[in-house]
Amino acid sequence: MTGFSSWLRVQWDRVGAVGAALVGLAALALGWAGVSGTPHIAAQLPYFISGGLVALFFLGMAVTLWLSADLRDEWRELRALRLILGEAAPDGDGVDGTPATPVGNGR
């Protein structure tokens, strides 16, 4: 259980991505069920909004969470590498005369 909770803590964004995808698919299915259940366009359009458009947002959120998890992983690895190389020059002898400060610290 502890292993699962720690895995959940590390992979929270991928778990969130799967959850958002499930919510999006559920909204899509419910919207489709609502639209197909009535012949009147006036009754179908609210389902288009609450089902189709909301599903589109949640599916987009799922993709965003998954890709941002990949970005964060790459960020961590690059920072770890940068830290290792930075420790090689702790006395300010960084490349091109710049101090070996951590990078990626702002825009």
Binding site: A42, P46, R79, V95, P102, G104
Partner: protein, 186 residues
């Protein structure tokens, strides 16, 4: 993709910007555990508070617009009167998705900037280590160091370039308490 990389330990030192981001929390953010904050913003992630506010603001505005358009459309009995609401709903969805895209773009830009900085260092380290493996350093060959440095370098080391370094013998460097450079492996 790179799911295994998430186990890479986070660097111990936080950048100044991330330190300022975590030092000035706002609203419910202040109550979030430190590791959660660091995983979303700060040293463990390429995003800053402004990115979160921008992306979250756009997404919240889009979702609010979606709720309003649904409410407006469902209150109209005729579908021609609902069409403007549906159009507004599409626009609101676009705004919300733009917020998500802005989050990704901000992270991608910072990761790319960090990669541009790290890759040349890695390449230099690889070249120098390769050269060290193939070349035999004669006994007594000088390495270089500058006053105030705690490490000594090979003369061609990029970390020594442009510095007021002086040749020293390895045994002298050892005697002075200097340790070898980790990049050029002097």
């Amino acid at each position: 993709m790179s799911s295994t990389l998430s186990t890479v330990p986070a660097p111990a030192t936080a950048s100044p910007a991330s330190a300022s981001a975590t030092a000035t929390p706002s609203w419910a953010w202040a109550t979030a555990p430190a590791e959660v904050r660091a995983a979303i913003l700060g040293a463990d992630a390429p995003w800053r508070t402004g990115d979160l506010l921008w992306a979250g603001g756009l997404a919240a505005a889009g979702l609010t617009g979606l709720a309003l358009t649904w409410y407006g459309a469902s209150g109209q009995p005729d579908w021609p009167d609902q069409l403007p609401w549906a159009s507004l709903g599409v626009a609101a969805t676009t705004v919300a998705l733009l917020g998500l895209v802005s989050w990704l773009v901000a992270g991608l830009r910072r990761v790319r900037r960090l990669r541009r900085e790290v890759v040349p260092l890695l390449a230099a380290a690889a070249v120098l280590r390769s050269a060290r493996a193939t070349a035999v350093m004669p006994i007594g060959t000088a390495v270089v160091a500058a006053p105030g440095m705690t490490r000594f370098h090979r003369p061609a080391c990029p970390l020594a370039a442009g510095k007021p370094v002086q040749p020293v013998r390895p045994d002298e460097a050892d005697g002075a308490g200097l340790v070898p450079c980790g990049v050029c492996a002097a």
